[in-house]
Amino acid sequence: MAASATALTLPLQQGEKRADDRELVRLSQNGTEAAFEELVRRHQQRVFALVAGILHRPDDVEDVAQQVFLKAYLGIKRFDQRAAFSTWLYKIAVNECWDYLRKRKVRPLVYEADLSEEQVSRLDGIVSSDRPPESASARTETREILERMLGALPEQDQQLLILKEIEGFSVQELAEILGLNVNTVKVRLFRARGRIMESYRRRLNTSGKGHASSAGSRKE
């Protein structure tokens, strides 16, 4: 593979707009290594998010994400650009995640465990005040608590909620990636959000706080 970085950087620097994905894909198909590296840089965060949203195994995310880009590189000559590069790449990521889980004979890591009073208070504060935690560490801890609660939901609903609400994928993207109808995704999201709140209310009752109505009593 001939690395012609200069051939790539010239149009990228001289043009007013950055080279779009289509152009980078075309260059990658012709063997320009720098073009594929740019594609990796552009999409690495989303691929990471997608893999993390499916696996729930932080230790394995990087390895699987690398494998996704390796597969994309090996298959890019066969990519006909009828779909967006991102959609094609995300489908590879989803397949890679399922392959990974199948080979390891594991399910996505979820644990539906009781929450401590402190954790319940934290969630209650978020639900009732509509003020998300500001620090990244508090938000990260909130994610861990939520992922535990999500264990009560079917796997696909967990993935939909994490990818849509936490990782920021659109309904359209999720429909394309997971091969579902757009309206199906919307209905599943709507129901899954209700279910996670029900799971949350059960935990509130278990922890003895008993003021779960804060979630349900707010007017929209």
């Binding site: 990796v40 994490i162 609400e165 996670i196 949350y200």
Partner: protein
């Protein structure tokens, strides 16, 4: 008709997609107004919408996955190069037995050819007439009588006798 979910926040099935769009602020003015009028009158849709909105707040309070950083792309490219070279050596390994056989065949053929040439050269040397004893062709007198030689069999003896008798007359 509200859907029975078993946990009390059933929405009307035909409104679920609209409620999802309404929750995400994706409905235009008239549609949003129509959905709002519905959920205000429908207890099931109202409860479902309130639950979904609370769930949305909870989920959006979570931290998204971090960007893996600038080093990730370099690691990926290094892994790609390693895979490429592994594939190339794999291809070489596949052809290695054929190449090896080809070389061995060529060496054997060359050796056999050499032996054959040497053998032919040696045999030819032995088959060559002795130049020192051979009569030069330019000194041959074609009119000279053939040198006498002993008859090989009875017929030749009779022929010689007949020739000699004929020569006397």
């Amino acid at each position: 008709m509200p859907r029975d979910t078993g946990f009390g926040n059933a929405a009307c099935e035909k409104y679920e997609v609209l409620l999802e769009d309404y929750l995400n602020g994706e409905l235009s003015g008239a549609d949003a107004k129509s959905v709002a009028e519905h959920w205000q009158q429908c207890a099931g849709c109202r409860a479902a919408l309130q639950h979904a909105a609370a769930g949305l707040r909870l989920l959006r309070a979570a931290e998204p996955s971090a960007d893996p950083g600038a080093g990730f792309a370099r690691i990926v490219m290094a892994r790609i190069r390693a895979a490429e070279s592994e594939r190339a050596s794999g291809r070489a390994n596949f052809w290695q037995p054929f190449v090896s056989f080809g070389w061995r065949f060529a060496a054997t053929a060359t050796l056999a050819l050499g032996v054959l040439v040497s053998y032919n050269a040696g045999l030819g040397h032995r088959l060559q007439p002795n130049v020192a004893t051979a009569r030069p062709t330019e000194n041959i007198d074609i009119f000279a009588p053939e040198p006498a030689r002993a008859p090989a069999n009875g017929d030749e003896v009779l022929m010689m006798v007949a020739d000699n008798s004929h020569a006397k007359f």
